[in-house]
Structures are given as structure tokens and as C-alpha cells.
Symmetry: C2
Subunit: 450 residues, 2 copies
């Protein structure tokens, strides 16, 4: 795209590593849609994102032709268990407790660290191919997930899970492991990995343990990722046991704060929502899995109206069953419209904000990513809009939320590095990652419990 | 794949036009998953679909390598308005009546026949690229849709819409047009087009007109495609005006029968469901649009339990906003699970039956398509399962319903003719169809009302 004419200009050219030219730009900041946009990237940082006509003349070794493409911030998946790709489709259409107890937990008991790596790497590959650039994960052997993230080139907010489940010493041990993970991996992979602590839920971690988690998180300056109010049954158990709702109990123990990422948040009374807003707790809304497991509907409109920051998550691939944030965005909107009986609820642009800048905010990454503006890290995706289902283009936001899928993502850049171009992933051998994961998944099924 | 060794066999080889070899076969009849499957096609007909090892030795000029692929019947979209691709994304997140009155109807008033062709052709392209091989459509200028279907190579069950809307003479005129369309186009395009009559709804077509529609349909031996019980408001209007529910009113006028395809069917009392079952009325369940327009949830489990045949539809692309049946299948399952608060409702295989053989039944095509078995027309799609989000393969049905999207369709065959191979469409110039539709859509916006 760089013409000799420009190279012959008298003014010195600004240098960039990558230029994306003539794209339609959705910066997802206060600006709207920018046509004939230009993005300049130097090292891992965006140095320009705006109208090409208003930009200084620039040159770069790598110029990406953005014609027919829409550039936007990479998507942020606020809740998943990546390694569970290995169990995708293994026990379908079952009640949550049966699914967990008869299939998932026995299989997880057989997992080796290397399996988690194989599963996480497959998950990373799937995320790259569907335009997710940042994600929040909670699982066992989270160091393996960190290594997969490093290899794949993605950005991960990772938590080693903590499950007490009635055994205090087990809880203590898992807290230590979660803390050790956080100490070792916060800032890992050139800063692309940040750590959180990962207490599983209020019904699997007792108040004493949760208080310690809070102390440690504050001390280490890391966030906390927890499941909250997912199932009516466990919400009622907590109420019966403690005489308080989950959110009231967490508030009472001083657990809540802006660094808490709460996944699901379905069964909340209005007062609990107000408490969450007061403490600036972040929410991951996971519509696909909530519907699939029939757990109920999170009242995202109410939470939003109260000022709570809401991101969108896919949850683990064993219960969704994919990591496609485009699909989750559409269903996120559909479910709210259906629940509130109001088609105006959660319009397309609001959904896209949730999946980009609000998601980044939920993960504590809002100063780093989530919008396309100079100074932020270059986490960018290009969508190929020359597709039948994206034609005509009356409203790019509507096309993205209601018509697109992950397979429309053409190019993925994270931290200034091109991870995928023309749908070819550069950091991973796609065939090899899939073969290994298939082999590992099959192997686990026949393996004896450790 | 055909080896010289086989060619040297003494037994004479059976001839076929196309062989699909070594695929995983989901025939969607009483058989389950067939590994190492073979499909043989001669002219427009399947001559073999089963285990390759049990097949006679065959040769063919065209051999498709099915390794890593899943072969299944092409998907059946039971309800759409194809030409509305032109209005995709044009007025989003609005209430149904506002959307219709302020945007859609004024735009439709400006439509020329040729626009309908352009929009329908784009819709055909999108359906081919996402694995839909048969569909039911209702619109104005339906002859243009028939011509698009002929060109694209798809199978269409088409109805010219009838809207009285208080003007009796208009209703009569539109009925005549609908009848003329049916007479002219039933059996069109080598039999790939069948016709229906298309009375819009009970609230836009009066009882007298609907009785005439019924008579004409019976006389012409064609089906009837109608919207039923979509909006609570109009259901209540009917009840107030006639003292009967929509289904009761239709039964009273002798309208109901196995040739009636009723779209939506949301606001039905249990007694109405029983009446529908009694008359073997067919239902198109359109989950995406019902959620998006916040119209309510069709109780598909109840209808199914009563023995009603239910297919799945996308509805028009202006309100969905795509024609991707894979997405609609997933949301079909999710919505029922959520509505009934039961994750076991509508399991994956049942959904796939709805979108194939049950859909074919709903369209009166069950003897022609909907399963892969010898004697049926060769309407076949191949899914490329070598994808990260379709790995590992524990359960092909689950992968198809919960993980796949239309873009995973690799090959589409209709009536024995290859419409798409390796995602390259053979019957249409993709670029040209998209450009034309974009141009037409833009042009309509600036055009004066006729």
C-alpha cells in the first residue's frame, strides 16, 4: 500500500513496525465508527489509531491492507477453564451436579499437568481463531496454562483454583499453591500474564479461608476470581447455613472490592446488586452456559443500571461448548431481551463494549487494552466483512453482534505481535495442537485414577 | 481414493456419479453414527449410504475424500423471508411494531422485483455457505425467489405472501397472485421448488379470506405457510374480536391440516397444542428471532411431547440477523433448557433431527430429503471436523449442535449437484452477488417511494 510517491515526500516519515491501512475502525472509546482508518503499531504499543487522512505520513516494514475489513479491540473472555477443551462434548444434556459428579470430577482426578497444557494450548488456538486476545482463567495446574499463554502469544489473567470442600487443610494447601502461582506468574510472558487468586465458590471455600484469600490478594496486589450465585440450590444452602445471602456474607467478611471478578451472578437480590455496585465488584456474564445448564438468567440490565462493570465470558468448553465470544455476545444480547421482554435492552454497541473495554476493566486491564487508542497495547483484531452474512453493511455493530462468528476474524495481533494473519496462526502448529489434544483426551478416558 | 487394485477386480464395478469415501456418516434415520462411511450418488439420487466395508465395490468419476469430515443431510430452514438480507442490521434493538412501521414496511414499499432477486440470491449464497439445502420462504415477488433458487441450485418451498390488512379487495388480489405463483412454480427448477400459499397471519387476513386460502390449497394440493401466535398482543386481539384463540379459530374454519406450516407458535394454550397435534399441523420454531424481538418462548418440549412435528427456522435476516442454522440449532436447545429449567430438555441429537428430517417433514419433503439413505435425493453436507473448536471428538452430535457454526461446512450437495466444495461456491459468483446486494440495499435507502 505504501506508494513510492509517499516515500519521496520531503517531510521525514514517522516509522512504525506495523501499519493497518484503510480499515473501518471501531476504537470502542468515546469515538464512533471511523472510516478509512489507520492504525500504527510500534513494538507492542499502538502509536496511532484514527482517520488516515489526519495521521502523519508513516511507513512501516509490515503494512496490512485493511480494505473490506473492520479493526477493533481484541475480545476479552472474562471467565473460562481453558483446559476443559479436553472434555468438550463428553457428557451432554445432563443436570449440573450429575455432570460434575459422574463425569467431570472423576476425569479431573486423572489429569496430569501436561494434560492441562495440551488442553489449554488447544483453547488458546481456538481463541486466536475466534478473535479473543485476553481471557480470565481458573483451574488446577494453572502454571501449565501460563506456559500455553506464553507459547500462543495471548494475554491471560490466570488463577490457580482453591477448593476446600470441607477439608480445612486441603483449603490451606490450595491457597498456598494459588499464592505461589500468583507470586511466580504475575507479570510472566513479558507481562502478558497477570495473576489472580482463585477461590472456587462460597460453598466450596469456608469464611475463614476466604478471609485469608482476601488478605493475600491485598498483600500481593492481585485480583480474585470467584464463582458467585450460579446455582439457586447453593445460594439457598449459604442462606440457610449463614443466615445471609452470598453477597452479604462476602461483604461482611470484607471480601468485596474492585479487584474481585465474580462469575455468573444469577441469583442476586436487588440489595445484593447494590452492595456489588458499592464495592465496584466486577461481573462476568456467561449467558451460553447459564442457559445450557438451565441455571437461570443474570439480570445484567439491572446490574448495569446500578453502575456495575459487566464483561462477558464463555465459561469452560466442556459446558458451552466453544470459546467463541462472537456467539456469546449475540446470546448475551438475546437472553437479556428475552428476559426483560424488551428488544431495546442491551443494544449491539453496548454488547461490544462489554466484550472489549468493560471486559478489560473487569480483568483490571483497562489501562492496557480494551480500546484502540495511542498508548495502549496493540491487541487488535481484523474482521473480514466481505462475507455473505455480513452483507450489506448498514450497521457494523449489528453485523458484528448479530451476524458474525469467530470464523470471520481474519487477523489477530496481541502485544504488537501478529498471532494470526489470513486465518493462519503463526505462533502454533494448528494440526499438531489439535492432534495432541485429541490424543490426550482419548488417553484420559482409558487411564486409571491416580 | 480409488486404487488400481480395485479397478482390476473381476466383479463388475457399480457405477456412481459421485462417491464420498471414508467419512463419518450421520444418516439421521434409525441408524446411529456410521464410521468409515460411504455415500454413492447417481444423478440426483443417493444409491448407497452406509458402512464402506459393507458396500459393493464402486467407482465414480468424482470421488470426495471424506476423511476428517462428517457427512449429514443438508439442513432445513423452516421459516425465512430471504430477500430481507437487504435490510440486515438496518434498524436494530427496536420494538417489533416500531421496527415494522417505521423502517421495514416503508422500505418494502420501495422494493422492485429485481431487488427481491438480488436479496434472495445473497440469501441463497449465505445458506449454501452455512449448510442449508432446503428452506421455506414467504415474501412478495416470490417468483424472484424461485429464480434465485433455480440459479443457486438449492431446494425451496416458496409462498407468495397474502396480506389483506383490512382491505378485502387487496386480500383477494393477493390470494390470486399467491395461487398464480403456486400454479406456475410448483415443481419449478427440476422439482427443486415446491409452492405453498402464504397467508401472512390471522390478524392480517380475515376468516373469509383464510377459508378461500384453505380451499385453494386443497384444490392445488399445495401447503400453507402462516405466522401463528407470534405476538401476545395480536393473539389477544384475535381472542377479543372472535372470542376464540388463534388455533381454535383456524380449526373452526377448517383451516388446519398436515399441510399447514405454522411459524413461531409462541402463545399457545395447552388445548391449542392438542388441536395442532390432532390435525398434524407442522411448526417452525424460530428461537433467535423470538428472543431478539422479545416475543416469548415457544413451548417446544410440550409440542413435541404431544407428537407435533417441529422444524427450526431462522426467520428473515433483517431480524435474526443471519441464516446460520447451526447457530439457530444451538440457541434452539439453549432456549428450551432455560425455559423449562432443565438441561436434559432437547438433547443434541433431537435438535439435529429437528433441523433435518423433522424439518423436511414440516415442509412436506420427508420422502425426498432429510436423511441419508438410498433412494432419497442427494442433499448432503460435509463438515470439516479438523477445527480447534471441534476437537476433541467425544460426541459428533454435541460438536455439531454446541460447537459448530455454518463456516465449518466444507461441501454442499443438492439434488446430486455439488454447490460448494472446499467452501468455494460453484453455482454463484460470490463477490458479484455480494456487491450487487450491497448496491441494491444502498440504492433502496435513497429511492423515493413508488
Amino acid at each position: 500500500m505504501q506508494t513510492p510517491l509517499i516515500l519521496r515526500q520531503v517531510n521525514p516519515l514517522e516509522e512504525a513496525d506495523i501499519l493497518i491501512r484503510e480499515c473501518t475502525l471501531l476504537p470502542m472509546d468515546d469515538r464512533g465508527i471511523i472510516k478509512e482508518g489507520l492504525i500504527a503499531i510500534e513494538d507492542e504499543t499502538i502509536t496511532y489509531a484514527g482517520k488516515e487522512a489526519k495521521a502523519p505520513r508513516m511507513k512501516a516494514e509490515k503494512v496490512i491492507d485493511g480494505r473490506g475489513k473492520v479493526a477493533m479491540p481484541g475480545l476479552v473472555n472474562c471467565h473460562t477453564h481453558l483446559a476443559m477443551t479436553l472434555f468438550r462434548g463428553i457428557a451432554e444434556d445432563q443436570p449440573l451436579q450429575k455432570w460434575l459428579k459422574q463425569t467431570i470430577w472423576p476425569l479431573e482426578a486423572k489429569l496430569k499437568p501436561r494434560d492441562v497444557y495440551d488442553g489449554a494450548l488447544l483453547g488458546c488456538l481456538e481463541m486466536i481463531k475466534s478473535g479473543t486476545t485476553s481471557f480470565a482463567d481458573m483451574y488446577f495446574n494453572e502454571d501449565q496454562v501460563a506456559k500455553a499463554v506464553e507459547k500462543a502469544g495471548l494475554r491471560g489473567v490466570l488463577a490457580q483454583g482453591i477448593l476446600e470442600a470441607g477439608f480445612l487443610s486441603r483449603g490451606e494447601k490450595m491457597l498456598r499453591e494459588s499464592v505461589n502461582f500468583a507470586k511466580k506468574y504475575d507479570g510472566y510472558a513479558d507481562g502478558r500474564v497477570t495473576a489472580q487468586l482463585g477461590p472456587h465458590t462460597l460453598y466450596t471455600c469456608g469464611p475463614s479461608l476466604l478471609r485469608k484469600v482476601r488478605e493475600k490478594a491485598t498483600e500481593l496486589k492481585v485480583g480474585v476470581h470467584i464463582h458467585l450465585a450460579e446455582s439457586e440450590e447453593t445460594v439457598n444452602l449459604t442462606k440457610k447455613k449463614h443466615g445471609l445471602s452470598e453477597v452479604e456474607l462476602l461483604e461482611k467478611m470484607g471480601f468485596l472490592g474492585p479487584d474481585v471478578l465474580a462469575a455468573h451472578c444469577i441469583h442476586l437480590a436487588k440489595e445484593e446488586m447494590r452492595i456489588m455496585a458499592k464495592h465496584n465488584v466486577k461481573v462476568s456474564y456467561n449467558p451460553v452456559v447459564n442457559m445450557k445448564l438451565a441455571q437461570g438468567t443474570a439480570r445484567i440490565k439491572d446490574l448495569s443500571d446500578l453502575g456495575v462493570t459487566v464483561g462477558i465470558g464463555t465459561d469452560g468448553p466442556a459446558s458451552n461448548n466453544n470459546l467463541d465470544m462472537f456467539e456469546s455476545m449475540k446470546i448475551a444480547a438475546l437472553l437479556q431481551k428475552q428476559f426483560y421482554k424488551d428488544p431495546t435492552v442491551m443494544p449491539a454497541k453496548m454488547v461490544l463494549k462489554m466484550a472489549t473495554i468493560d471486559g478489560a476493566r473487569a480483568l483490571g486491564l483497562e489501562k492496557t487494552v480494551g480500546t484502540l487508542e495511542a498508548g495502549k497495547k496493540a491487541d487488535i483484531i481484523l474482521l473480514d466483512f466481505k462475507k455473505p452474512h455480513l452483507t450489506p453493511i448498514h450497521d457494523p455493530y449489528a453485523n458484528i453482534i448479530y451476524s458474525a462468528h469467530g470464523s470471520d476474524v481474519d487477523t489477530v495481533i496481541v502485544d504488537g505481535k501478529v498471532l494470526m494473519e489470513n486465518r493462519k496462526v503463526k505462533t502454533l502448529d494448528e494440526e499438531e495442537v489439535m492432534l495432541k489434544a485429541q490424543k490426550t483426551a482419548t488417553d484420559i478416558l482409558t487411564r486409571k485414577t491416580r
